[in-house]
């Protein structure tokens, strides 16, 4: 089999993995090899689905002993199988990297014989890449649940980021769709990596030249829409992972139906992209805006609003906290205003030191006034005379079409139009009317 054929099979099999981030570690080259790493991460291209290509995302092999129902590589599927050799992976990575096609390698794998055996193969490839090829760019590897902790520890000293896939939000979902996987086996390596990172940070404080363990932190992903969990359940799981496992990122993957199976939902409207989008918006609110999951959703209101982003939705349910005076409110309060992002909030706090800000100034700073104007005052004045009233603001926010990343040729636009007839109803539910 040629390298081209292998690359096709093992890219095709890896593409459903969401993470392509190359962020979290800043490292200069040492002048003796190839590569460095930028803290913010660098995208190098965007594929026709609009997703970033940052890393050479491939599987080591798509052979697998498991039979997870949602996975294209499951044992019972009749697909072409292939495996790379460690040298092929090293050559591809370095040759792509020096042409500036990629920021590094993302190596995952199906399970060949056993989790430990597969991890040994991955280790061999990564070890060669780091030592023989002196590659100092970004490396993200999957830790396979059930593998010997020792091999995970050794790999963690070579990789920048490691991730263990949660696969599905709850243990019940996992049991139904991935009978070979168990929740506790997934959480065990996650906990181990977390402890490794903490321990390593302490070592680094004592010995400056101790080698770093997973310096870019760990991430995970779960499939959304294959099992019946609510957005509330998903956000509670994510919040838990951030708080109790110190994860850097949780990724949400709209379920793409690749296998026919009676246990999988039929998705005639395509993958639930809008739902995935709302979860990412909420995830941002947890990580950068100081929100907690229970502020956004509850048992009684377990799913995100289709028509409003989670922040606007929250603000409309908390009108008693508005309007906010831009020239006096603290940073955290300003951050909660719809239409004001992290950058704008920081700029506001900096700029107002030199005198009070007007609406014109806010516009220059980058505030989306057509969204923010209902929630703020500048020197005690609102931009226009406007009612601080839920129905009125909701109507105005919705008529200002939200910019979604998939309005034109995405499936979700069609999904949305399903609600056109019942817009009135949905909207009333949305505002709690």
């Amino acid at each position: 089999m040629t390298v081209m054929q292998k690359l096709e099979i093992l890219t095709d099999a890896a593409k459903y993995d969401v993470s392509c981030s190359s962020s979290g570690v800043e490292r200069k080259g040492d002048g003796t090899g190839i590569g460095n790493a930028a803290a913010g991460g660098i995208c190098h291209s965007f594929s026709s689905d609009g997703r970033c290509i940052s890393l050479l995302k491939i599987l080591f092999t798509n052979e697998c002993i498991y039979d997870c129902k949602y996975c294209i590589n499951r044992k019972s599927n009749d697909v072409s199988r292939a495996s790379f050799t460690p040298d092929e992976i090293c050559e591809l990575t370095v040759q792509f990297y020096r042409r500036n096609y990629i920021e590094g390698l993302f190596l995952s794998s199906g399970i060949l014989y056993s989790p430990t055996y597969t991890m040994e193969l991955i280790y061999e490839a990564i070890y060669k890449l780091r030592t023989l090829y002196r590659f100092q760019g970004y490396i993200h590897v999957k830790a396979i649940p059930g593998a010997d902790p020792e091999i995970i520890r050794r790999l963690g000293l070579l990789a920048d980021r490691m991730s263990v896939n949660l696969e599905l939000p709850t243990a019940e979902g996992l049991q139904r769709l991935a009978p070979n996987k168990h929740r506790k086996n997934i959480l065990a390596p996650m906990r181990m990596i977390q402890q490794g990172i903490t321990q390593n940070k302490n070592e680094l404080m004592v010995y400056r030249h101790a080698s770093s363990f997973v310096p870019a932190g760990q991430s995970t992903q779960m499939i959304v829409g294959a099992t019946p969990e609510s957005d509330y359940q998903i956000m509670m799981v994510a919040e838990n992972l951030y708080k109790r496992f110190d994860l850097k990122r949780v990724y949400y993957s709209a379920f793409v139906s690749v296998n026919e199976d009676k246990d999988l939902p039929a998705l005639p409207g395509g993958p639930p992209l809008l739902r995935e989008h709302r979860l990412y918006q909420a995830d941002w609110l947890l990580r950068f805006y100081g929100f907690e999951a229970k502020e956004l959703l509850s048992e009684d209101k377990p799913n995100f609003n289709i028509l409003l982003d989670p922040k606007a939705d929250w603000a409309l349910r908390h009108l008693e906290q508005f309007p906010v005076e831009i020239n006096r409110a603290d940073y955290q309060t300003i951050l909660r205003v719809p239409g004001i992002g992290v950058k704008s909030a920081q700029r506001i706090v900096r700029a107002r030191k030199n005198g009070s800000l007007s609406f014109e100034d806010l516009k220059k700073i980058g505030v989306t006034l057509k969204r923010a104007l209902y929630f703020i005052t500048c020197n005690g004045r609102m931009m226009y005379p406007t009612k601080l009233e839920e129905d009125y603001i909701t109507r105005n926010l919705i008529s200002n079409k939200e910019k979604l990343p998939f309005d034109r040729d995405g499936m979700t636009y069609r999904q949305l139009s399903l609600f056109d007839d019942s817009q009135e109803l949905t909207w009333k539910q949305a505002v709690g009317g």
């Binding site: 690359l7 190839i34 660098i42 995208c43 689905d49 993958p271 700029r347 007007s358």
Partner: protein
């Protein structure tokens, strides 16, 4: 005139005209010299303006002074900006200087003036309510964004002799902002980044420091012959690029937002 600016007579008579325009060369040296000379005029700053390049429409009742770049003045202005306003502001100003917009000289000059009036001079770039500072912020952001796009989307092609060659066509003069990134990342490669618009080459010999070479006008561009390997890896990557997309999520609009069409001309996977 002692400022070193040649005073150009307009309409014959010398009179005390209210507005002065300093005509500067389009470079860091030119504009910094202009700022120095503007202070030497000892006129209210509202009446002094800096314009860049030659194509200025002359206004009536204004005097036009041509500035000749002067190393000592440049060093003084640069030193003052760093000392008074800090490194961050200096970097913003340098980025704004790389812009192709004609009003950049005036914006930078008036930013310096505004900065000196502030209590906390180090915070000058945060004062976005000032229109000139905001303009410098805007120009700097444009250069920084475009430089970042080049770090992302620039593509090297391997030539027959093993040299990596990357042509670019940026709107801002950003080559000096991106080369350090590649020099750190590819220390052992011989590589060349070529700005087609301005005819500037950045040369990086393996294991050595990089430098700029300004191409001669009308210089012949040899047709580059690619290496054997180049065809193989460009095909492999192009294939990877198409395979990694999930067709059920197809979204060309989002792709276009994230990867503007003008960069694709230089990118391997779009050839």
């Amino acid at each position: 005139m002692e400022t070193g600016c040649g005073r150009m007579k307009k309409g014959g008579a010398i009179m005390e005209l209210s507005e002065s325009y300093l005509v500067c060369e389009d470079s860091l040296e030119g504009i910094f010299t202009g700022i120095y000379d503007a202070y030497l005029l000892k006129k209210p700053h509202e009446q002094v303006h800096i314009c860049v390049g030659e194509d200025e429409n002359y206004r009536l009742f204004a005097e036009y002074l041509r500035c000749v770049p002067d190393e000592t003045k440049v060093a003084k202005v640069a030193g003052t900006i760093v000392r008074e306003f800090g490194q961050e502001a200096y970097l913003s100003i340098c980025r704004a200087l790389a812009s192709g917009e004609p009003d950049k000289g005036e914006a930078i000059y008036k930013t310096v003036v505004a900065g000196f009036k502030m209590k906390n001079r180090k915070a000058v770039m945060g004062n976005l309510a000032d229109p000139y500072i905001h303009r410098v912020f805007e120009l700097a952001r444009f250069t920084a964004n475009e430089a970042h796009f080049h770090v992302e989307f620039l593509r090297f092609y391997e030539l027959e002799n093993g040299i990596l060659f990357a042509p670019i066509g940026p709107k801002n003069n950003l080559i000096t902002f991106i080369v350090p990134h590649f020099a750190d990342r590819l220390p052992l490669e011989n590589f060349v980044i070529y700005d087609e618009i301005r005819n500037i080459y950045a040369m990086h010999p393996s294991g050595k420091d990089w430098y700029l070479v300004y191409g001669e006008e009308g210089m012949e561009h040899p047709d580059h012959v690619f290496s054997e390997e180049e065809k193989k890896y460009s095909e492999l990557f192009t294939h990877f690029f198409h395979t990694i997309a999930i067709k059920e999520r197809g979204n060309l609009g989002l792709q276009r937002n994230m990867l503007p069409l003008r960069y694709r001309k230089y990118m391997t996977e779009f050839q």
